[in-house]
């Protein structure tokens, strides 16, 4: 019983196992790939399974880059042979890889699950080599049918054939291979094809490391035009166009341009379906040959050469030629034309030391076209004169290498003259003693303390400041006492003087009367000189004493002034002065008239009596 049941179990297991293997036999899961590919070239790996998988997982693919995938395609194959109906479905998963280094890479088997079971495909090896594989090996079956494909007139024959380097290639053309450093050359990248070009997958343009490259604008879409190349007609497409300026001299290389493109050709194994235009799209890697360019060093250059090569014009603009000190001037240097603008250095200008120079502002306005870089480059200097004077900066030279004549050419600006005024009214432009080369003195090291006083130290023993010494107050008291003393003495003296003056005043009338008496005596004796002398003495003396005028200050004006102050009427004053005048005149030039003497005598007596009365009051 036991044995039977055991057998039963074994049989069922066996049946099950057979069943399983049969089922497994029915499913094919394979991987295939191109055996070789180039660096950077895309290559396909296809996994084909003849049952619909639920899921597919890629195996290990170390060192490779998965560019795209999976893209799925399905094909159905129905065959009826001798009444046997067979249907085959094929599911293809396509992955696109890329490698960046040479070597042999293994793409591990992918696993797919079908109806809950897992299947693993074989693994494939791909050899990556230096150069791109030029075969259209990796083909991809595609079912998109383009009925106009044949109208898209091209050289691709309907006969499937291998695409060779003569059918499809890319070239980089240069307009010259031998040129001077700084001269421009135009590089054109073009694709030539005889086959049906569908599109580009990858475009690796040369990097132009040794050049200054500027792209010339080309139409965004690549238009294929018929062109004859090496006596064959191609469809040629302009991919890029550059203007290049070599940076260095010597043998330079323009690296190859690598293009991965897709071409379409009729399917090779079209069978019946070929009739319906089964086309294959193949990816192809193209590589242009390297180009060697010889760049010659420019001949020995003049000192004013600033790297410009091409054809230029030179202009210099000066904002003002007369300015005040510390006011800014702008000087513009303008270079226009065509050539290597980016390599032109700032023209050298030797500025006077009296100017403060700011870094020039450079601006460039250039356009690229087939003839090269065209436009203008401007340097704008802001300079500020710090000293007055007339400055002749002279001409500024601009030298460039003329690509037409292969010679240096020097252009000169008009000479720059700047007059700097000290101020608005300055006309001689500060023609004074300035030493412009003078620099201000700066500390070289750290500032240090000053030296000791090595002369007399002005020492004082037990020093107490005067302000705190007890003597300080005496410095004030003593002058004050002196002051008081002086005041007292002066006052006394003044008082005494005043007394003397009073006495004199009192006696003035008496003295003058005495003098007048004397004068009368002389009059009688007819001694004229003595008479006048006595009259003058009487009048002057009286005025001096009565009016307290010191002899030194005694003048007619002073007498008049004081008499007026005392309120004596004008009549008396005028009379007094008149008599004095007459006496003085007669004293020096005596007249004979005796009546004159009596008259003067009377007048003098009258005046004195009059004044005597009035001043008393």
């Amino acid at each position: 019983m036991k044995l039977r049941s055991m057998r039963k179990i074994i049989i069922t297991i066996l049946i099950f196992l057979i069943n399983l293997t049969v089922f497994a036999d029915g499913i094919k899961f394979t991987a295939n790939s191109a055996p070789k590919a180039g660096i950077g070239q895309n290559f396909q790996v296809q996994f084909t399974i003849n049952a619909k998988p639920n899921d597919i997982t890629l195996g290990n693919y170390d060192g490779l880059k998965l560019v795209n995938g999976p893209s799925t395609s399905t094909s159905q194959n129905i065959s009826i042979v001798n009444g046997n109906y067979t249907q085959e479905n094929r599911y293809t998963y396509t992955y696109i890889f890329q490698a960046s280094q040479t070597g042999i890479y293994t793409i591990g088997g992918a696993s797919a699950s079908v109806d809950g079971k897992t299947y693993t495909s074989n693994s494939v090896n791909v050899e990556i080599q230096q150069s791109a594989v030029q075969s259209g090996g990796n083909r991809r079956r595609s079912s998109n049918y383009d009925p106009w494909a044949n109208f898209n007139d091209n050289a691709a024959s309907s006969q499937p054939k291998e695409i060779t380097g003569e059918d499809l290639f890319v070239r980089v053309f240069v307009d010259k291979t031998n040129l001077y450093k700084g001269e421009s050359l135009i590089a054109t990248v073009k694709i030539y094809t005889k086959v049906d070009l569908v599109g580009f997958e990858d475009l690796k343009l040369p990097s132009f490391d040794d050049f200054y490259a500027e792209e010339i604008e080309t139409p965004g879409r690549i238009n294929l035009v018929r062109e004859n190349y090496n006596n064959q007609v191609y469809n040629a497409g302009l991919i890029k166009k550059y203007i290049l300026y070599p940076r260095v001299s010597g043998e330079l290389t323009i690296e190859p341009c690598i293009i991965d493109c897709q071409v379409r050709q009729p399917a090779q194994s079209g069978g019946i379906m070929g009739f319906f235009g089964y086309y294959e799209t193949a990816s192809k890697s193209l590589r242009s040959p390297e180009i060697k360019i010889t760049v010659k060093q420019l001949p020995q250059s003049p000192t004013s050469f600033s790297g410009a090569v091409g054809r230029f014009n030179f202009k210099l603009e000066q904002s003002e030629d007369t300015v005040l000190v510390n006011n800014a001037i702008t000087i513009k240097i303008n270079i226009s034309g065509s050539g290597n603008f980016n390599m032109i250095e700032t023209p050298k200008i030797t500025w006077p030391k009296e100017f403060e120079i700011y870094e020039p502002v450079a601006s460039q306005n250039t356009k690229v076209d087939a003839s090269g870089l065209n436009g203008t480059k401007t340097w704008e200097y802001t300079i500020i004169p710090r000293y007055p004077g007339i400055f002749k900066l002279g001409e500024i030279d601009f030298t460039y290498f003329d690509t037409g004549t292969k010679q240096y050419k020097t252009l000169s600006s008009p000479s720059i003259n700047i007059a700097v005024k000290k101020d608005k009214d300055d006309t001689d432009f500060g023609e004074t003693s300035y030493n412009y080369a003078q620099k201000s003195i700066d500390y070289i090291g750290e500032d240090d303390i000053r030296f000791i006083n090595f002369k007399s130290l002005n020492l004082s023993k037990n020093y107490i400041p005067i302000a705190l010494s007890p003597f300080y107050i005496w410095y004030f008291i003593l002058p004050f006492l002196l002051f008081v003393l002086i005041v007292l003495i002066l006052r006394k003296k003044i008082r005494e003087n005043a007394n003397i003056a009073k006495v004199k005043q009192r006696k003035a009338g008496k003295i003058s009367r005495k003098r007048l008496k004397k004068a009368r005596k002389y009059m009688r004796l007819n001694q004229k000189e003595a008479f006048y002398k006595e009259i003058i003495a009487a009048l002057w003396g009286y005025s001096s004493d009565k009016l307290s005028i010191s002899i030194s200050e005694l003048t007619k004006d002073r007498i008049e002034e004081i008499l007026l102050e005392k309120g004596i009427e004008n009549y008396t004053i005028i009379k007094l002065l008149e008599v004095i005048d007459k006496c003085e005149f007669a004293h020096f030039a005596p007249t004979n008239a005796e009546t004159e003497l009596t008259y003067i005598y009377k007048e003098a007596v009258e005046i004195i009596e009059d004044l005597e009365q009035k001043i008393k009051k």
């Binding site: 000791i452 006083n453 002005n458 020492l459 005067i466 705190l468 002058p479």
Partner: protein, 262 residues
């Protein structure tokens, strides 16, 4: 009798004379000594023997001689041997005597840059600033002399005012007298102010780095630390503690031994 009297008189006169000569020579010797000390100090200084120079200057100072220049030189010596607090101390002493000395001010500024910390100066009212800048034009003695001169001028002008007969003279006399009297009194104030700084200065220099506390005992809170060479104002004292005020307004108590009064 007469002869004896005459003799003694003569002897006395002689003695007096010789004594006088003696005194003169003593003073003379003293003066030359001091001069010699000065010269050797200057020599040592010039040959970069700063500590020796300092010994000489110190000996002059201990003989009770003082002057702004002496303090300046001592400050220089201390600066050169790297004793910044002492150099600042002597520069400050020198400035007390002669606040206008340009060299001293310059050296003090340089020495002050060598201090570890500094107290930001509080903004001072404009009139105080003016007062300080005006007062610092001259030394205390110069102000004192000026005050006396101005006072005398004022008196002279007053005399002219009193006794001149000319009106214009009297007018100018009066104005000048008043103005010079005002200036004289200003000078007196300045002079006394400066003199007090010399004799009784309430500023001090920190000689030992120390902690400033909130009250005058060791247990109280630490407020801040003052570094060597800092100039502080002493506002109060208790036992052996000083209440100090920094130029940025911070206040606190510090042990007296950390400071040296100017």
């Amino acid at each position: 009798m007469m002869i004896i009297k005459l003799m003694t008189n003569r002897i006395f006169k002689k003695l007096l004379l010789s004594g006088f000569i003696c005194m003169l020579t003593v003073i003379n010797i003293y003066a030359t000594d001091i001069n010699r000390l000065q010269d050797s100090a200057a020599n040592y200084y010039n040959n970069a023997h700063y500590s020796e120079a300092l010994v000489f200057y110190d000996s002059i100072y201990t003989l009770n001689y003082s002057s702004a220049d002496l303090f300046l030189n001592m400050g220089n010596c201390y600066y050169q041997i790297g004793d910044i607090p002492n150099s600042i101390y002597y520069y400050e002493l020198s400035l007390n005597l002669d606040p206008a000395n340009e060299n001293t001010n310059h050296n003090l500024n340089i020495a002050n840059t060598k201090i570890e910390t500094k107290a930001e100066e509080l903004p001072v009212a404009f009139y105080k600033r003016w007062f300080i800048s005006v007062i610092s034009i001259m030394s205390a003695d110069a102000w004192a002399y000026l005050s006396v001169c101005l006072f005398s001028l004022s008196l002279g002008m007053m005399a002219i005012y009193f006794f001149s007969l000319r009106l214009s003279l009297r007018k100018t006399g009066f104005i000048v007298a008043i103005i010079s009297l005002v200036f004289a009194s200003f000078s007196v104030v300045f002079s006394i102010n400066l003199a007090k700084k010399i004799s009784d200065n309430n500023n001090a220099i920190v000689f030992d780095k120390g902690l400033v506390k909130s009250s005058p005992n060791k247990e109280s809170n630490n407020l801040f630390e003052v570094s060597k060479g800092l100039k502080v104002e002493i506002t109060d004292s208790l036992n052996l503690w000083y209440n100090i005020k920094l130029s940025d307004g911070k206040q606190g108590w510090i042990e007296a031994e950390n400071l040296k009064r100017l």
